[in-house]
Symmetry: C2
Subunit: 112 residues, 2 copies
Amino acid sequence: MTADPCLPECGVARFLSLLEGPWATLIVRELLRGPHRFTELRDGLPGISPHTLTSRLRQFERHGIVIRTAYPEIPPRVEYRLTPLGEGLRDVLDAMAAWAVTVPDGESTVTA
Amino acid sequence: MTADPCLPECGVARFLSLLEGPWATLIVRELLRGPHRFTELRDGLPGISPHTLTSRLRQFERHGIVIRTAYPEIPPRVEYRLTPLGEGLRDVLDAMAAWAVTVPDGESTVTA
């Protein structure tokens, strides 16, 4: 599944390119709760590597989904937050969650 | 991202466990167009391996998202189609596509 620079025409495939891998969607889930620092994001996503978090955030920045703001303070403070385009993902994640909670755990094979 | 049998509580994480990896969502996209045979699915998803397709379909069956129907014909005919639970994914994929087509290609970094 290749990402930039040329995204697939098909909307679903395009989505999967932009939010490639589970971490991307989970990062958006965190940012939908408000701006986060890098360490806050990392702590909110147990198991994510700094490398993965950095590369996903950079991809999001490239596509105008996330804004990185560096505040001229000592010590320096850097925050990530969703742009309006990124906020548009709220409907998608809400739809994901609304569907997923209706799916029972474990075995529920339906036989025809 | 482990799948069965115990799915995460959080709806988004639960969704990502159920539709783990890009192929899972693309398989659903194909099945939203109607029942498919295995070979039709495989041909509609260039690059997918038979192993991945088989394991995803089995997981979907286990969770009641897909029904596998074997018709007593010669030669035998097997079809996969979405259950009502699986059809419920239409809203999610529509939301994915509706958002993704608003995202411009390539570089569009927004600076604060």
